[in-house]
Every structure is written in structure tokens, then in C-alpha cells.
């Protein structure tokens, strides 16, 4: 059973502002779902390599260079930000 304190900690790590009721629901749901995962304990995975990518294609790398983009395209992206100033995205002070 996952504790309330753990749920609060996770919510903070995930940057999710959750109401008290949501915390309780998630605590209950996570416990049930985590219980289902116990199934995997019976699988012997000793010496097995983990898979992060199902199809082993050759990795595709492009040159690490800045691709010049038309200014309208940049403008379009900036426009989507909730707060902007002089063509920049505005953020609350970090430090």
C-alpha cells in the first residue's frame, strides 16, 4: 500500500498540483495498479538485457548544427506562449 506521504512527494516531483480528494483517489488507484504489477515478480529476468526500443534499427544521427528557420516560423512558436515580451518567452524568476 502506497502511503499518503508518498503520494504527496510524487505529486511534487511530477509538478502536479493535486486537490486533497485527488490525492486520496490516486493513492487508492496506485495501490491497486501496483498490486497488479506483482505478476512480474514471477518472471525470471536474470541476465536479460532491458529493451528500450522495440525495433533495433541503426541509430540515425544528424549533424549537430543549428538549422536556420524562417522568422515567421519562430514568430508562430513564440506566439503560442502565454506570456511573451520583445519576441521572447517570459518566465517567472528562477533564482
Amino acid at each position: 500500500m502506497i502511503t499518503k506521504k508518498e503520494v504527496e512527494h510524487l505529486a511534487k516531483l511530477a509538478r502536479l498540483g493535486l486537490a486533497q480528494k485527488e490525492m486520496e483517489e490516486i493513492q487508492k488507484d496506485l495501490s491497486l495498479i501496483l498490486d497488479y504489477f506483482n505478476l512480474l515478480k514471477e518472471v525470471n529476468t536474470e541476465g536479460v538485457t532491458p529493451t528500450s526500443h522495440p525495433i533495433s534499427a541503426k541509430p540515425y544521427l544528424r549533424k549537430d548544427e543549428v538549422l536556420k528557420q524562417p522568422s515567421e516560423k519562430i514568430q508562430k512558436l513564440i506566439e503560442l506562449a502565454p506570456q511573451k515580451e520583445k519576441g521572447c518567452i517570459k518566465v517567472k524568476s528562477i533564482l
Binding site: L16, P54, I55, P82, S93
Partner: protein
Amino acid sequence: MELEELTITQIHRGLTKREFSARELTEAFLDRIERFDKKISAFLTVTKDISLRQAKKIDELVSRNEEIPILAGIPFAIKDVILVEGVKCTAGSKILENYIAPYDATCIKKLKSQGAIILGKTNLDEFAMGSSTEHSAFFPTKNPHDLSRVPGGSSGGSAAAVAANFCSFALGSDTCGSIRQPAAFCGVVGLKPTYGAVSRYGLIAMASSLDQIGPITKTVEDARIVFEAISGKDPLDSTSVQYPISNIQYPISNLRIGVPKEYFTCPVGSRMDSYGAKGIDPEVEKIVRSAIQKYEKAGAKIEEISIPYSTHHSLATYYLIMPSEVSANLARYDGIKYGYSTVDQKTEKPKNLMDVYLKSRGEGFGKEVKRRIMLGTYALSAGYYDAYYLKAQKVRTLIIKNFEKAFEKVDVIMTPTTPTPAFFLGEKTQDPLSMYLSDIYMAAVSLAGLPAISIPCGKVAPHHFENRHNTRDKFNRAKYGRGQSGGGLPVGLQIIAKPFEEEKILTIAEMFKKL
């Protein structure tokens, strides 16, 4: 036959022979959406202006006697998780309610260059997380076969739109059945290509090692046409691959079909039952088995096989890997770059940066999305990483190997797409695990990155539900009425092959109607 019922090839013929114009065709679809989508709620956005503008161009080409590509003038719908430049793309979420896509997804660019006509964007579970389209932040979509039931999900709007003849075909995305399951529930064809076959550029990411775009269509032939148009390598998606689509013939007498016993057995009362899996509906099993028998009668060899860990263990593996990737992918919704932000709201102003994150995400995301972000954060967090995420990645390797072993003996694998036909609206929303279980037959295929198709293979007769002494059904009937599935509910047959063998499953799926 109504214009809206035609297949892609039939429309193409009609357009080139000038039996109807692209404008007439587009208007017929728009009119049908206008009249009937009030009942179904398949669309989030209808792009009438764009579609009529595109149609005009096609009509000009035809009038100049120019040759047009096969998809020119074919009206289609797009799951609202794929970007179309200048059109809202919500991902079914409040957090992107007013997001206007700044560019086209690669698959959209390809379809636009052929002249396919964009009718609109279809409803889905928020960020494609769900199996019923009830997790949409806006409204649920109904199953055209029975309005009291779900269309499946997460591409429920796309599948319902195809089934209701609101479009000629639709695009969906499949992370763990989100194309195949709604296709099965709505009685249409759904192809999940091999991981990497279709570029994911412009697809709003959910779980990047699993997500794949694919077609939902009326026929297998249509699925082939759309798949050929959208697949291929794209420099903008490093996981995309190019491989030849060959027109190899598969004589049915040489065909070996594997039928994994795990997909047909989960008797009530077994250990799995404690997780809420009631096993396969006996009527569904009968229909799927008789579909497989048709192949056998035509000369194919049927072999009972076993693919260890390919049902419950796969689903558990999936529900560790997917949320982990979700928790990382959805970190981008921060209330700063785009989408819903608490700084725009009239409520109390955020005090600091942390406050912007917590409130924007807390207010913008829905319940299921939050649940999965939390689950993923847990699986990746210190102390649990090895026991959960790493363990799941190792089991994933075993699942891939078990499929490889199976494919040494057989050419394709056939299973039911889902254990039951479409369930009632509201039936599973309060019980996340039982909702997850509706994807049980699709998880292993997704984890292994394999191509799979769901084709309609029969219908469960309506009286089947009338006779069942199922308390859950009784409860739902009391709550939602008896249902209107007068013509029965569709059942899907899933056909699975090795990576990059779309051609094979399409060919074998196409045989079905002739058997």
C-alpha cells in the same frame, strides 16, 4: 449506394470519370456530419473551409484532364493528436484547448501533397490515454452501432467517424491498441503498423517507444492505400525506417496460422480473475474461432501455439513502461511555452515558478493523465526504478523473444482483438484496471513493435446480451437503457506478423472476405 459509403478506389474512379466532383463529395460528407454527429460526437473540429478549398483545387485538376493521385479528393478525418497547420489540436485535453498547430505532421504533409481532403479533427481520450474516448476533456463519443455503448479508444472519434460514414478514412494512433480496439468495437478496419513505419513527427507524444500512427478504414484495400501513402523514413523522426513494400503472393495452402492459447483462456475463478479479468466472452471466442476456421477450410494450416507472458504479463509491463514515458513526455506542458497556463487565469496569481507548474498542470490535466504521470513518476523514482521500470524493460525483451520463437513456426498469428464487444458508456470509468484490461490482447504486440491489423469478422447477436445474467450488465441496462444494438455488436479479428510485414497481414486480411 451513397457517396459517403464508397471505398477509396471507387471514389477515385468516380472523380476521374467525372461522375461527381470533389466538391459534391466533400459537401456530402460535411452534410452528413452536420446532420448526424450531434448523436455520435465523433468530431472536435470540422474544417469546412479548408476542405472546400482543397476540393476546389482537385476539381480544377480534373477539369484540366490532369492525372490525380489515388488519394486526391478523398475526404478524411484526423485524430486530434496529429498536427495540421493552422488548425486547433487539443489532444482531447483542456491543457491544449486553444492550441493552434504551428506546422503539419509528416503524415499530414504526405496526404496533403496527394490532395486528400481534411474534414476535421476527431475526439479521443485525453492525450490518447484510454480505451473508450470517455477520458476526453470535452465529451464522450458514442458507438454508431449502439449509442449507449463506447466506440472504444483512444482513437474512438476516428473509428466512429469511419463507421458512421462521416469520412472515407481516418488517421488514428496506437500505443497499446488505440487503433485496433476502436476499429474492432466499431466494425471497421484498423492497422497498427510496425513501430517506425510511419513518421511520428507532428504526433503529440504519449509513450515514444510505442506510439505509432496508422489508418482506420472501411476496407483492407483502403488501409493498404493509406498505409503506403503515409509510411517511410523521415529525417524529422529518428526512429522512422524505410523498407520495401513488396507485392509478394501468399498462397493460402502454404500459410501457417498460429493461434496462441493464452488469448483464449482465462476461465472465471482463475487467479487472473481476481484482477477483474472475466476472460473472453464465449460468443466472441466462437466468432473468432470460426473466422480462423474459414482460413483452415481454405487450406491454411492452423497451429495452436503458446506465447508466454503475452497477455497479463504484457499488460503489466505496458502499464509500467508507458506511464514512465508519459511522465517524461508530458513534462513539456509547463504553463510557460504553450497551452493552458495559470498566469492567464483571473484566479489568484502564481507566486513563483513552482506555483506556475503546479497550478497549470493541476488545473489543465484530467484524471487519467494525472494518474499515469503519477504512476510513471513512481516507477522511475529512486528506490523503485530497478523493481519496476528496469524489470518491465527486461520482461519486454522476453516478450519480443517469445514472439520471435513463435514466428519460427508460423507465418502469422491470429487472436481476438478484444475479449468483449463494445461496453456501455460509464461501465468502466470508475475502475481504471478494468478499463486497462480491455487492451489485454494488444499490449504484447505493441511492446514488441509488431504490425497488426483488426478486421471485422462477425457480430455478437443482440439477444446474447439480453440473456446474460450479468449483474454489471443489468446495472448498466437500468442506468443507460437496454441499448440499441439491434444489428448486433461487431467483433474484431487481430492478425499479427513479424516487423515490417504489413504487406503480409494486409494480403491475408484481404483474403477474409473471399473465404
